[in-house]
């Protein structure tokens, strides 16, 4: 069944309102009328949104052109037809310049009125279709499916389903590259907030002063260089979900500010005095031991209790080795399609190389390895030789010469070597390691690695 279209008729003459009302009711519209601009705006907020507006140009009080501007401020896609008893080219041009869809003179030929409304509706439908298609494209492009049939991943999926429908704050814990953001997006996509945005902020990779502006926004002139008002991520997440990655890395001051927002859902932009309200759901992620940070005093206990309502532990890839072939095949298909490569499958030899490797960078490292292998590979099968060298070397090391070094020391040495190879360039080194820049900064800090000059 098609949706009933809504029309608002604004004219100070009762007989015009009534006759147009009858006319559009017979045309199957849901009709509302208003005698002046003020009542029209009230009607818009009460009974709106409307698909089409028929607005008289000359009315006592607010005239048609002013009302048209006010309507368009509230609904930029409103289809407006200006109606007037006085044919005037100047006002017609002004109305059309301001975005009115059409301009008709009273009394109107029934055919002209029908055509004007039909065309205005078509324009409105195109605008709506445009929005629907954009959403569809966003849906098709953004969310990646969560791949995994291991019992641990089935457990994670169960937890996502259990918590998504609620509005509870969630902490997602797991090593770097395990797909914590993917889990956050899955929670958002299954929640009643899914029609609003999910806004992600990586707290670990942004200096404190910038993080404040990033989260809370700022007013013009709040600091040097703040030339325009900027909305913060908290404000942008209104109605949706705020995803704070690396929550364990935020400074004590930011912890206080964040706690205040979580408790009141109100805040002020930097340099501003006006309170802003935002209704958002918080999902956080960390690869740190929050309890230990609380014990050490570097993470506030009250904030810990505020955020730690529901926890999802994402297992590292080595603990769900049975998912490696599934994930590898998924990434092969994904990159073969995007690179238009003929690669269709992974050879048994390459599969065993992938299975033997420990994947310290988890799924992100696996994805990176497959992507690079597809750049090199040309045949229909992905072979061990196509895989990045360090994967092979690592597999050989594991097979032949078991190392007594701890994983941490291996990681430290590996990061140092890659960083040197990349001439100290953080972006390139992070990309080569298959981790994001924020994680690399954290690791450099943790191991006390200096960037080569």
């Amino acid at each position: 069944m098609t949706k009933k279209r809504k029309i608002l008729i604004v004219d100070d003459e009762l007989s015009v309102r009534n006759s147009l009302r009858e006319w559009f009711l017979e045309d199957g519209f849901d009709v509302a009328t208003a005698e002046d601009g003020e009542s029209a705006l009230r009607e818009m907020h009460g009974a709106g949104p409307f698909d089409v507006f028929v607005i008289d140009l000359k009315m006592p009080g607010m005239d048609g052109i002013t009302l048209q501007k006010r309507v368009q401020e509230a609904d930029k896609d409103a289809a407006i037809i200006i109606l007037t008893a006085f044919a005037s080219v100047d006002t017609a041009v002004e109305a059309l310049k301001l975005g009115a869809f059409d301009y008709i003179t009273k009394p109107v030929d029934p055919d002209d009125l029908s055509n004007a409304v039909r065309n205005a509706l078509r324009q409105r439908e195109l605008s709506e279709e445009n929005i629907r298609l954009r959403d569809k494209v966003r849906e098709m492009v953004l969310p990646s499916p969560i791949i995994g049939e291991s019992s641990k991943m089935r457990g994670v999926m169960g937890l996502i389903d259990a918590v998504a429908e609620t509005d509870a704050t969630v902490v997602i814990r797991g090593e770097s590259g395990t797909g914590k953001e993917l889990i956050a997006r899955a929670i958002h996509a299954r929640s009643p907030r899914r029609f609003f945005p999910i806004v992600a902020v990586n707290c670990g990779s942004i200096p404190e002063t910038l993080l404040q502006s990033e989260l809370f926004g700022h007013e013009k002139g709040a600091f040097t260089g703040a030339q325009y008002r900027r909305k913060g991520k908290i404000e942008l997440a209104n109605g949706g979900t705020l995803f704070l990655d690396e929550i364990g890395d935020i400074t004590p001051q930011m912890q206080i500010d964040l706690l205040r927002v979580l408790e009141s859902k109100r805040f002020t932009r930097l340099g501003g005095t006006q309170e802003v309200t935002s209704d958002f759901r918080l999902v956080c992620a960390t690869n740190q031991d929050l309890e230990k940070l609380v014990e050490e005093g570097s993470f506030r206990e009250d904030l810990y209790y505020r955020v730690n309502v529901f926890t999802i532990d994402v297992p590292p890839l080595r603990e769900r080795a049975e998912d490696i072939p599934l994930l590898a095949r998924f990434f092969v298909e994904k990159y073969a399609r995007s690179m238009s490569k003929p690669v269709k499958a992974i050879s048994p030899a390459a599969e065993s190389v992938l299975a033997e490797y420990e994947w310290p960078g988890n799924v992100r490292e696996l994805e990176n390895a497959i992507e690079r292998a597809l750049v090199i590979g040309c045949g229909e099968l992905l072979e061990p030789g196509d895989l990045p060298l360090r994967v092979e070397r690592r597999a050989e090391e594991r097979a032949g010469r078991p190392s007594r070094s701890s994983l941490a020391s291996l990681e430290e040495r590996h990061i140092q070597r890659v960083l040197e190879e990349c001439g100290g360039n953080i972006t390139r080194a992070a990309s080569a390691l298959g981790i994001d820049r924020g994680t690399l900064y954290n690791k450099l800090k943790r191991y006390g690695i200096e960037r080569p000059a």
Partner: protein, 188 residues
């Protein structure tokens, strides 16, 4: 039970085919259809000299006073040119889900468009417009099916294009509104 539909010929309306009109309408609309004669409804008070036309809204309001029973419906036929304040003209007017409707033959005549008179064509157009306006009184709105009598017609050629019957969807709406399942001529 179907409600009676009264057909009232207003001042000056007296075509040769008028007598058979109620009988022809029973083919397309449900319920007994009765002519309503001797209506003391003069058209002069509804004339708008600045437009040279008659105000359909006011005529319809007056016509409702002649409704014989409250649950009945009434459709008036006139040969004068009708308007509603915002439009240049109307072929007819009706109250959506109400008791009253009005149809003018003024612009249904071939002579209005400079063509030779055609009584048969005028009768067919009139029947379609009466059925259309009565459809509105049963709560039907305009239909997208260009062959259905409920299709909106803003010029006379569109009336010629459609039939006098309801499409299956509109017929369903009509049956739901009247609570009957009378066999009617189909259109669309």
């Amino acid at each position: 039970m179907s409600r009676t539909i009264y057909v009232a010929f207003l001042e000056g309306f007296n075509p040769s085919w008028g007598e058979n009109l109620p009988a022809r309408l029973t083919e397309w609309v449900p319920g007994p259809i009765e002519p309503l004669s001797s209506l003391a409804l003069g058209m002069d008070p509804y004339y708008a000299p600045e437009r040279g036309q008659y105000n359909a809204t006011l005529v319809l309001a007056r016509l409702l006073r002649y409704l014989p029973e409250p649950q009945a419906k009434i459709v008036g036929l006139t040969n004068v040119d009708l308007f509603i304040p915002v439009l240049t003209f109307v072929f007819g007017q009706a109250q959506l889900e109400g008791p009253g409707a009005l149809v003018s033959t003024y612009r249904l005549r071939n002579e209005f468009y400079g063509l030779p008179p055609d009584a048969g064509l005028l009768r067919d157009r009139t029947i379609k417009e009466v059925v259309h306006e009565l459809g509105h009184t049963f709560g039907l709105v305009h239909c997208r099916d260009y062959e259905c009598v409920m299709h909106a017609s803003t010029y006379v050629e569109e009336i010629d294009l459609k039939g006098p019957g309801f499409c299956s969807a509109c017929r369903g709406g009509l049956h739901a509104a009247t609570g009957t399942n009378a066999t009617l001529g189909a259109g669309g």
